[in-house]
């Protein structure tokens, strides 16, 4: 029983005669890992946006666990994404001036009046797991590798069933990138979450380090699988 059911998706941008993205179908099983690769401009980010409900498609269907994202309202997709998707992005998108712990908690804090104590201890646990020990430190003073690890902890806080990472190692040096890649796959496996990483970093694409992950190749808007 696939957890992702994507069919007949086509995205067109005005002024382009060819669709930016045309994917006849993709299914992912629960807990499955997939690496999405392809040259820049191939539509990777657009594809990830579709999967995480940041964008919706006019044609076709994207459904997770039977929930059709196209049928949800804008706020409904926000709610769904907050509950089910953990996002990690190339530029971290941490908020300077707030501590590592506050950054991890921020999305959840904005969703409710009172933050459950359990969530706070879970945030501290996750930060420990990704190796950030000084949780009160302002994120602006962290190294880039540390920043991305805080972002990983943030993505996992709500125990999402889906983790989506867009070039998570592209702006890191090799050692930090390796640590982040390992954390992402390791933590996704621990949580049993479905992981989709867009990257052309050999850390993810190399068969040796890829492990069981499926390799999806996106080229000129169409998807192929190795």
């Amino acid at each position: 029983m696939p957890v992702l059911d994507l069919r007949d998706v086509e995205i067109c941008f005005p002024g382009l005669d060819r669709p930016a993205l045309a994917v006849p179908g993709l299914a992912l099983a629960e807990g499955e890992h997939a690496v999405l690769t392809g040259p820049s401009g191939a539509g990777k980010t657009t594809f990830l946006n579709l999967l995480s409900g940041l964008e919706r498609t006019a044609r076709g269907r994207v459904a997770w666990d039977g929930v059709d994202l196209g049928a949800l309202s804008e706020s409904g997709r926000d709610r769904w994404r907050a509950a089910h998707v953990g996002l990690v992005m190339q530029d971290f998108h941490l908020f300077p001036g707030l501590s590592a712990l506050e950054n991890v908690l921020l999305p959840q804090r904005l969703r409710r009046f009172r933050l459950p104590v359990a969530l706070e201890s879970e945030a501290a646990r996750l930060l420990g797991r990704v190796g950030i020990l000084r949780t009160e430190q302002d994120v602006a003073t962290l190294s880039r590798g540390q920043m991305q690890r805080v972002a990983v902890a943030r993505a996992l806080l709500a125990r999402p069933g889906i983790i989506v990472a867009d070039e998570p190692t592209a702006s890191l040096d090799e050692a930090s990138g390796a640590a982040v890649a390992e954390l992402l796959t390791g933590l996704a496996r621990e949580a049993g979450a479905t992981l989709i990483v867009a990257s052309h970093d050999p850390l993810f694409t190399r068969p040796a380090s890829r492990g069981f992950a499926r390799l999806l190749r996106l080229e000129a808007g169409s998807l192929a699988e190795d």
């Binding site: 921020l106 904005l110 969703r111």
Partner: protein, 426 residues
């Protein structure tokens, strides 16, 4: 959410402070205009409160009130001495007191009057009312002590006045504080002023003609070559003579302050003393006319202030929109990570409104301080206490400004609300 807003404000502290200062200054301008206009009105109204009716020779009403009630010395025409006699005998009059000016001591005006006025101003708190021609009662704020002696200076020191030689007055009492320019005046018997000036005038009567002989108002300017002997102490060391005031042949007077027995009497006296030889006026009516002018000035300045506020509002709106556009990625990321749209709206609105609201409150304080400073200068220059204060009618306009701030803050907030998170991240 508040921590997030605080962190963002801290990061842009310089810009935030600049916007805060601009909002504060624009608000302060309007607040200061409103407060200052009200202060001038209430200060002058309260300073005139003890004086219901002023009677003088026909001329400028405003000048008469300014000179007699606010003690802003200026040459006034004189009316016949018999006017006072008539008023003293009038059953509609509770009390009537002459005033004569022209002398000063250490920059304080010396006012010649009668004990009736001292009683009318609330009496003395210390010592007693003058009983002799060489005795004086000082206003509450005059830096003399009971028992001090001084020599009256004729005319203003700045205009080359001279001391009335040989005459020295003793301070025998201190007036109750009145909150009026009279707190800084030195009161002497009007007869002393008459005698002093009659004596000095004989010195140059031949040069100036007969008019000057009956001129206690200070028209007879001191001349460098003049040697005023003044009256010797013995001539002034005599008791007051109440009959001298009631004498129809008494010297002319620039002004008489009148306390009518009733409101109806006040209107009747005003009517009967408005004629060819006298002018009767309520200080209140002169002030009311001035308030009309002041009200027009307030409208103009108020419009200027509103214009400034509108311009500031527009400029700030642009600055904030630019700021929000620069934060598109950050706002988009918030949404992408699961912040609800309403939280985004609230954050942007709250942040902008916080800055505008704080600027507004600071502006109210600043306007108040500005009005205080300005008023204390006016009070120092005129001796009229200037009460600066807010009234309950001020709440609505200020609430309106706050509301305008809330609406302005809504513009970038809605912009952020409508922004698609994916578009922001692309």
């Amino acid at each position: 959410m508040l921590r997030f807003i605080a962190a963002d404000l801290r990061r842009h502290l310089a810009g935030v402070l600049a916007i805060l200062a601009i909002v504060a200054l624009a608000t302060a301008l309007g607040v200061a205009v409103t407060l200052q206009e009200r202060t001038l009105r209430l200060g002058s109204a309260r300073a005139a409160d003890a004086f219901d009716l002023v009677i003088g020779a026909p001329g400028a009403e405003t000048q008469l009130v300014l000179s007699s009630v606010f003690l802003q010395a200026a040459p006034l025409p004189l009316m016949r001495g018999s006017v006072l006699a008539g008023l003293l005998a009038d059953p509609r009059v509770a009390w009537a007191a002459p005033i004569g000016f022209g002398d000063e001591v250490e920059g304080l005006p010396i006012v010649g009057t009668s004990p009736a006025l001292i009683a009318g101003l609330g009496g003395v708190t210390e010592g007693s009312v003058f009983a002799r021609l060489d005795e004086a009662v000082i206003g509450a704020a005059v830096p003399f002590r009971i028992g001090d002696r001084f020599r009256p200076m004729h005319g203003h020191a700045s205009e080359g006045g001279e001391v009335h030689a040989g005459v020295s007055c003793e301070v025998v009492g201190r007036l109750k504080p009145t909150g009026t320019p009279w707190d800084r005046a030195v009161l002497v018997p009007i007869e002393a002023v008459w005698r002093l000036h009659a004596h000095a005038a004989t010195e140059h009567a031949q040069k100036d003609g007969p008019q000057a002989a009956h001129d206690p108002a200070g028209h007879d300017e001191a001349r460098p070559d003049e040697v005023a002997h003044g009256a010797g102490d013995p001539a002034f060391h005599v008791p007051l003579d109440p009959a001298a005031l009631a004498d129809p042949g008494a010297p002319g007077l620039p002004a008489i302050l009148v306390k009518p027995r009733s409101v109806a009497d006040a209107y009747r006296l005003r009517q009967s003393y408005r004629g060819e030889t006298t002018l009767a006026v309520f200080p209140a009516e002169v002030l009311t006319r001035l308030y009309g002018v002041l009200g027009d000035a307030r409208l103009v300045l108020g419009a200027v202030a509103y214009g400034a506020q509108a311009l500031v509002g527009a400029a700030i709106l642009i600055a904030i929109l630019v700021h929000v556009l620069q934060r598109r990625r950050q706002i988009g990321a918030l949404r992408a990570f699961g912040a609800p749209r309403l939280a985004v709206l609230a954050i942007v609105w709250g942040e902008v409104f916080l800055v505008l609201g704080l600027g507004l409150l600071a502006g109210i304080g600043l306007g108040y301080v500005a009005a205080q400073v300005l008023s204390s200068h006016v009070a120092g220059a005129t001796g009229v206490p200037m009460p600066v204060g807010f009234v309950r009618e001020d709440v609505l306009p200020l609430a309106g400004l706050l509301l305008a701030g809330a609406l302005i803050a809504l513009v970038p907030a809605v912009l952020a609300y409508r922004q698609s998170p994916a578009a922001a991240l692309r």
